[in-house]
Structures are given as C-alpha cells and as structure tokens.
Assembly symmetry: D2
Homo-oligomer: 345 residues x 4
C-alpha cells in the first residue's frame, strides 16, 4: 500500500482528498495535517466522516510528513506550497500540489499575478496535471501542478480543438460559473448563506488569476501567444462548475470535424463524457464525481462554436484530478479510487 | 382611477401584475382572469395574498373584459394574445401584451420562430415596450409588445453603445442566466425542485426565441442587420436574471467614452442603476424590484467590453416593465406603483 | 413627520427597520448608526438599497441620537441596549428595543440567562411588545421590549388558548425552525453557505434563551408558573420561521371552542391570518410581510392540539413588529408602513 | 453473483437502488423495469449515470423478472406491489418491497389507511425490515416490508427506550421534516422549485399514513396499544430527513440510563452513529449514506426526553435499508455495497 499524506486537510479540497484517498484500493491515508486544527480529530471538523476517518490532524512539519508518506498532496494556499515542496522532493517523495505554485512554465506570468517564486528551478520540472492532456509527462513526473478548477473546465473541451487548428486561438471567451465551495471554508460575507442564496453575480472580472494559467496552456497548444476573455460568476450551489466557451471556427470547419476531434481525444477516456447533439451538461450530473461532461453546438445564426462543460469543482477541479494524477505517476489504473457510482439526484 | 384587467392572472407574470397593480395609486384592479381557475378566488392559487386580493378569476371573455376595464394586460401564451388583442383595441382599450406576439416589426422573423400571425397589420402599430428606449413611442401607443426578460436584460446595457457606435454591432455574445420562475408555473421535470436545486445548465442553445427579438432591436439601433450569439442558462433561484454581454469596442473607444455614454442615457432614469467601477451586479440586489443594475469592465487582456446586467425576471423582465409601460401610455409618473423599497436581503 | 433613529442599522434587523421606516408615511428616517461602519454609506453595506437610502452611518452616540430623533429603535446586542436606553428615555424619547434587555418582568429570569441587569428599575416600566396581546399597554409605553422571533411565532397562536383555559399550560412543546438570517449578519461556520445549504438540524436544545421569555408570558396568561419544552432548528432559507406547538386540550374542549377562541382574538387583527381547516401555514406565504399565519388541527389519534404558525423572522419577528409597536405608541394606524403587498412567490 | 431486479426503477427510490446495487460487490444488477419508460435507456432518465448503467428499462412482467433474477426489489406504489409479490415468491424469489403493502401485521390497520389487501396471508409471513431491530427475522425471511422513511428515522432512536421501559409509550410526539425527494419524481405544484424553495410547512397533519405503521411497531415493543402524534413537514433540500421526538421518561430514569440503553443497542451497529452530548444531528452529515445519526438531551426545564435523528430519506429511508435487508436475508455482510465514504460537504 502506498502511504499518502494530505497537507492542509481541513480545507475543502483537502477534506475531499481525505474522502477519496480513504476509499482508494491502493492507498493507506497515513497523515492529515492542519496548522489550525493540529491535535484535533479530523471528524470533529468534518462530522459527516464521524467514525470513518480515525485520524487526527498533525502540524505541517515537512520532515516528519516525508518520513510518514510516499506521496504528498499539498492542499495549501499558494506561497506556502512552494516552501514545502522542495523539502519533500529532496526526500524522494512524489508531490501533487493543488495550489498555483507549480502550474506555470513561465515564471514571469506566475510572478505577475502571485508573488516572487521561491524555487523557480522547479517550474521546469513540474508537470501541469491536466490528466487527459499531459498523461505521458505526468506518468514520469515527481511534481505535479494540479490545475485550477476553472482551467480544468475550460481547457478540456477547448484544447483538442485548438491543437488541431479547428478553432481560432484568438478571441476566445469563457463565461464560467462556480459553486460556493470554490470560495473555500473560510467564513466571509461572500460565503454567508444570506448573501449567496438566491444570488448570482460575476466577480474578479478580467483579473482572475486563472486567466494566465489558461492562456499559457492554450498558447502551448496553439503555438502562439493568446489572450482570452474570462469572466467567473458565483452560483448558489455547494458543488459544481459550468463553463460556456465561445470560439470562432477555422474556415471550413463544421459539425463533423468538431465531433470527430472531440471523439478522437476523449472517446476512450474514463472521465470525459461527450454528450450527444441537443444535450447540454448540467452540474447536477457530475456532483461528487471526477467526470467532465462536455456538450457543444455551432450557433446557427453566427456560426460561432459554443462549448459547454461541467465538473465538480472539488473533484475533477481539485481533489479528484489530484488523485488521478497520483494514479498516473504511480502506474496505477487511472481511475483507481475514483469509480464511485454517481447519485441519480 | 384607471380600471385594469389582468388576463392570464394565474401564471407567474400575471400574479406579479396583480401584486403591483393592487398597490398602484392610480389603478383599480378590476378584473383577473384564468381559464383554468375561473370562479376560484385569486388567493386560493396564491395564498400569500390571502385576505389582500378579494377578487375571483373570471373566464377570458374579451368583450366582458373590455366593458370592465380601461387598460388590459395580456399575460397569456403567444398566439392566444393575438386573438384577444384586436377585440380589445377595437373597443378602445389600451393593451400591454406580455407575450411575443407584438414584439416584432418584422413579420417574417416572428413567423419563422413562432407561427403565422393572426393580425399582422397590428405589428406596425404596436410599440416595443423597452421603456428606457422607446419612451416617446410608448407614450403615444395603444398596443405595447412588452419585451422578453432576456432581451430586457441584454438590450438595456447594449443599445446605447450600439446606437452611439461605441461597439461593433457584429459579433456580440450574450451569456444569460435565469431563475426558475422564468420557466413558468407549470410543473415539469425541469422545474422539479430535485432537478433544479444544486443544478446549473445551458438550454435551448442557439435556438431560443428571444434571439430574433434582440437581433431586431440591435439592428434598428445599428442601422444594419446583425446576428448575435445568445446562450441562456437555468439558475437555481426563484427570481432573478443576469446577462454577461461581450462586445468589441470600436477603434479608439475606451473607459471614458463607455462611461459617458451609459451616463448620458441612464443617469436620470428611475429604474437603471449604473454601478461604479469594480462593482458587479447581483441578482439579489434587484429581487422584487423594477431595477436593472448595470456594471461593466474593459477586459485588460483582450480589450473586449464586458457588460453585466441583472433584473428580476418577473418585474423589470415582465410585470414591472408592463406597468411602467402603462404609466407611460397614460401619462402617469413612470414609477407609479413601482417604488416599493427593496429588501436589504 | 416623526423623526426616527435606527441604532445598529448594519445588522439584519436594523437594515430591515431601515427598509420599513423609509417607506413609512408618517416617519422621517433621520439617523442610522453603526460602530463598525460609521462614516460609510448605508447602501455600501446593503447595495440593494443603492440610490434609495442616501444616509451614512453615524456612531452610536446616545446624546446626539436623542437630539436628532423622536423615536429610537435599538437593534443592538443585549447588554449594549440597556446601556443606551436610559439616556434616551431621560431625554424624553420613545424607545423600541429589539434585544432581550427589556423583555422580562422577572429580573432573575433575565439574569439567569443573560447577565446582571444595568437598569432593573426599567423592567417594570418596559412593556413586552407583542402587539396583538399588549396593545393597550403598548399604547401608553415609552419603552418597549420587542419580542424575540421564536416567542412571537409561538405565543401568538398559544396565548389566547392558555388565557381562556382551553389548553393545559403545563406540558407544552414548541418545535421551531428558523431561516439563517436569524443567526445574524456575522460570518461563521454556521452561516457558511456550504454548511447551511442542504442542511437541517436542531441547535441549543433545551438551553435557548428564548425559553424563559416565553415561559414568563405563558405564566402571565395562565396565572401559574410553567415550563415549556422548546427545540429550535436551523432551516436552509434566508427568511422565515415556523413553529409547531403541541398542547393538551382541557377536558371537553373540541374544534369548535378552539376555532371560536382564535377567531375572537384575531379575526379583526391586521397581521394575523387564521387559515381554514386543512390548510397549513407556509413560510413562503409571509416572506417580507408582517403577517403571522396560523393553522391548527386536533390530532385524531391522540386528541392533542397541534398549532402551526409562520412569520418572517426579520419582520413580524423583529423589525416589522418593532414598527407596529411604534405605531401603537404614537397613536398611528397600527399597520402604517407595513402594508406592502406580499409577493405571490 | 446474485442477480437482482429493481422493479419501478424510474422513481427516485428505484434509481437509488440502481446506484447502490451497481456498486455492490456480490450483486449483478440484471433487470430494471419501468412501465412508463420501457425500452428506454436507464441513463436517458438519469443522465448522471450516463455510461455507467448500460441497462434499458423493461416492462413490469413478473414471470420474466422472476426468470432473470434471484432477488427482486419492488419500488412501486402500494397496491401494485401486492399484485406482483405473490408471483415472485411462488417462483422462489426473495422480495424486498419498498411500498407499504407488507409493513403491517395488522390487516385492519393497513386497510383503514390504504385499501383492501390482495394477499393478506402474506402479512404474517412478511418481516418488517427495520434492520437494527429485526435482524434475526430478516435473516430468515423471503419477503420484507421495507420501512417507511419517517418510521425509520423515528423508530431507531425510540424503540430501544420503549422496549426497555425507559420512556412512557403513551404521549409520544414526533415532529419530522423531509427533503423534497420524499415527494417522488412526479412533477406537481408541491415539488415545483418556486413553491418548495424558501418554503417550509407542515402537511398531512394528523393523517399521514406512516402513523399507524409506527404505532404498530411501538406497540409491539411496548406490549400495549399506543397512539402517537406525528407531524411531517416539507424541507427545501433534495435529500435528508430529521425527526425530533418528544417522550416522557419513566420515573427514576436519567441521562445515564438513556445513554447506556442506546449504547447497548447501537454501539456495535454499522449504520447508527450515536452523537456525544451537546452534538445534534444534521441532515448534511448523512447525505448519500445509510447512516442514522442520533442525538438526544433531557430538557432541563421540563425533564422531557428529546431525541433527534437524521437519515437520508432515499438511502436509510428507502434504498439503502432495502439493500441492507437483502444482505441480511442472503447472509452477506450487512454493509456490503453500502460503505461509500460520505462527502465532507
């Protein structure tokens, strides 16, 4: 059994990692950490898991964590991650980082939106963990920058079409909507029930930090620099994210080519479900799962391509993809631990 | 006192008309009709109004309705409206129609999406009741085609910029999200709580009937034919609608011009609230009101203009705007009956 | 026009007072205060009221507030209220206090659950502001202890039956459910959307501070000491409260007597709606209103009386009843400012 | 592998059975039926299971079903079940019936609330499938009457205390609250999102059909006839049920005895979690699980016992308990197929 550690297990992504890893057939969840709750039982913070997860939180000591585990998931705020990752890598551990710290190849792009990078030499080594896209690199990696939730939902439908030159990489627009769990466990006016309930609004318009992360990946697929327009919105649901992406088709491209391209990339993938014509993806259908459901349509009036995708922001958008990355790194079945049957409602 | 009739008062838009008109200082709500509930008390169908609205539904008899009222609101499905409107107009009544039947100048556009028009000669006479846009024509009208909810939310921020050539009328994209009340009172799988709750999805992508309605209005402002891309989504809230609209700025246009244009058109209007920079509109802030809140930003990466607007789909998107139209037609204060103080939450 | 001040206007009850008072025909809302937001615009904290309430918060200076107003609403935490109230009363102001500080006649009962009372001499003078019950005393009062939300929902259906000896005052059970706004504006794990959404649970079982408040009122009506069993629960809605109350009927009492008693007390009251047999009250029907809807049934199996009532916890359970109290104190129409037509949905 | 059939698989309880059985280690889900959807793919009705459940609905032919399966789950309306069950039993199949048709020993009690029973001879043979209570009888049974959701939530905390004479079996009150999925998949005004959202109300007060079902079980444990007071309410959540039960303690019974009794019955049970003092159960903590969480407190004022329990109405209240019953009948591990790790949120 592989020994796994979840660092920052009191946050929502961390707790979701605990859920998935504790049911993983090849993993022993050995360590959960939290600075705030060190010494407390995990199920005191997440009583749904009462009696199921017997662990207590320990503090974030990288040396100790290294001794106790083979794979470490860092579910920490950015900046904190890049302080711990080098210690763990030096100790020979595999690391999946859920922060933004290792998602960028371009240090300047990272630093322009975040802060000075503490270990820029690792940026080259780290692999962007979009599993359906970088499977081969992930399999050989020691350090994964686990993608952001918005980028996962947008890049999965988009990258194959960009790569195959079926859409113009310029002028892409992504209009995304996220459930409240994306804002994290911290209590704030934004996450107050009376503020979020019966509410819908855009936020961080034009300045969200996931924008350069997506731009780097689209540019890599396109072979040229791109700017996208990205508007995130906050949805009054706990889990779930939908992205509607607008792109201009390349000359001569029609339904047949789009269909074939998406089929080529995804028909054999465990966690991408391509909907048939006239079906549109619904966050409810992927709640609690690692699926990304994708639908699309060519707008009959304007001829523009409309891509729609849904994920559970905590699973395929965070903890589920992190475990999928671990599976690929360790040569396990990609879907190990991720095969729970979805709820019909 | 003006005698008003609400035809089709058992639907959500009709019931909302009842609410507003019963508190209107210049109106006596004389008639409410419903084929399904004829003979029943209004508050048996809407018990929130128990003891407040003493009326009973009567049947949809246009001759009788004409005798009992001065102004008639038709809150009926399309097709049914165009059968009743001519009778009422012949009897000298003012008519505000909430269906799509009188929203189009272009008969072909209407018929391509709906059905053969029963009284096409009225299309020329009817005025598109987007109050902040057609105030003068509305004041002189007998027959109003009350705008759709989606078009109201999209056209209000967009039309001034199109009219003043600040944006390119081609290539506009509108990504809209509506609360469940927009689907009406009929029970269906779509409106089932267990289906809508914790769910978000696009629907009728590229084929929604509000598309040609918007295209006609944008074309009139632009002076040229346009196609827009419009994607509606269903939100798990009862009331509220948000539209995020993407448009390309004309060469040389920047923040100053956009700000000035929107201020010129709206600073003195009762029901449009322009948000300051960095604020984005929230459906919760307009719930139960006739306001349209508008925010905007020029995307720093792509230079594209992002307009965001929110309305209550049942008020500014239906019944409230219908009453505002009546006020204008009758020379009353535009905001009469519509000045209830919004709920802070 | 009466000049009114809302002290503690940034909380939910305070903001709701602002909403109601700003639409009150006889009141000029002169002052809103908040220690935390002193100097800020009211509508910066409650953007729904953008452009409607032009006031800025000022600090909680009782002398200044006294000069600026005739009636003062204290929407403060308990303890803070009893420090301000004496100053305002000495200045000749009428005071409606929404905290628990002036709800008790029995100082020991207050102090056993709260803290030492700073001005116990005022407890005798203060009137418990359950409007339908203490109307005469309220009309002559200078200081009102505005009832708690749970007590309002429970006492309104119950007190007439206790007073008229139709039910046994011993052994009463109240099972109540409150929307999240009852927990106030402060962000916490309890009010976090992801915690409250899709959740329902009891809290403060057997120890809620509203218990002795109710017991004192029931004892006054019964003429003997009583203990009730009270269990509050948290509901995933923003506004609304339901109480289901179980009581043993006195020997020989049946449907006719219960019906007649409730009719005697309430048939002429503006804000109590008695439902007909077979109808049960729904929080949705009173949202945003000052109504208390009451239904009841004698359980056919056990013969026990089941009373059900709903209120909007922020209106009849707080701000609305506070304004109703002011109306009674000042000899205005009891329903002034409280007659907005309810939303059909 | 055991071959299982789900008859009535298009309803919510049926679909949940499909979910659980398709992940059961010892079961092959061989048949799903639906009269309405015969011939359609299961995942066309429940698209969350797209690609996971390859079955098509077949018609409700009991002979054919009998040939295809070893165990049959009847997730049908009452009356329909009792027409199919005898055929399946004659064919030697084990039957778990989720309707009310086989929950009663007392035919009169059944017929007084439902209709004439078609096969009363089976009532004696059928076992009431409250797993933690009737484990031994279930293990030997061919026909299980799977308990109602409300009875499950109420009887689990209550029966041990009644059986051990710690509470008075007379005068019990159960105040229960159910999520909307309890109303089933049929669209109606009750289940319309705009009706259920932001709403809470009692329904079927004093006349709910689960009352005699509970009374029979309590009477069996008490050794005397009992009447309980039961009030169900509708909660605006998809899944979940809470019951707060009020009972009078027997003389001399205190916290220690209650604690010991509940521990004796449940400390070793897989699906009952006893909360520690001061914790109260939350529907969110059992969502999607087969757990029943139980908390309790002796009311300090009245000395009355307050029991609180939560279940997922579709799992422990329906499909999960049905599978648990099958496991017991077949000598499998009681928790087989029911061990999915709960979601932390």
């Amino acid at each position: 059994m592989i020994r796994a550690a979840v660092v920052g297990a009191s946050g929502y992504a961390g707790a979701e990692l605990v859920r998935i890893l504790s049911g993983h057939p090849d993993v022993n969840l050995a360590v959960v950490t939290s600075r705030q709750y060190a010494g407390d039982r995990f199920d005191a913070v997440y009583p749904a898991l009462n009696g199921i997860i017997p662990l207590r939180f320990q503090d974030n000591d990288p040396d100790l964590i290294g001794q106790q585990s083979d794979v470490v998931f860092l579910a920490l705020p950015h900046q904190t991650s890049m302080e711990m990752a080098p210690v763990l890598l030096d100790a020979g551990k595999r690391v999946v980082d859920l922060s933004a710290d290792f998602r960028f190849k371009n240090r300047d792009a990272y630093e322009s939106r975040y802060q000075p990078h503490a270990c820029p030499h690792l940026l080259e080594k780290a692999v962007y963990g979009l599993c359906e896209w970088n499977e081969k690199e992930i399999s050989a990696a020691d350090l994964i920058g686990n993608p952001g939730c918005y980028p996962t939902s947008i890049l999965l439908p988009l990258l194959p079409l960009v790569k195959e030159n079926l859409v113009d990489p310029l002028g892409i627009i992504a209009d995304s909507k996220s459930g409240v769990s994306g804002a994290g466990r911290s209590a704030s006016q934004t996450t107050h029930f009376c503020h979020a309930n019966e509410s819908f609004k855009a936020y961080k318009v034009g300045v969200h930090r996931h924008t350069p992360e997506m731009e780097e990946q689209i540019a890599l697929a396109a072979g040229e620099a791109v700017s996208i327009t990205f508007v995130p919105h906050l949805l009054p649901i706990t889990r779930g994210m939908e992205s509607t992406v607008y792109a201009t088709l390349s000359p001569g491209v029609g339904e047949k080519q789009v269909h074939r391209c998406l089929m080529d990339y995804y028909v054999d993938r465990s966690f991408v479900r391509l909907l048939t014509t006239g079906q549109f993806p619904d966050t409810l259908q992927v709640k609690g799962t690692n699926f990304c459901d994708i639908g699309w349509r060519i707008d009959p009036g304007s001829g523009r391509l409309i891509l729609m995708s849904v994920i559970d922001n905590l699973v395929k958008g965070a903890a589920g993809q992190a475990v999928q990355n671990m599976n690929l790194m360790l040569g396990l079945d990609e879907s190990a631990g991720l095969t729970g049957v979805p709820y019909p409602l």
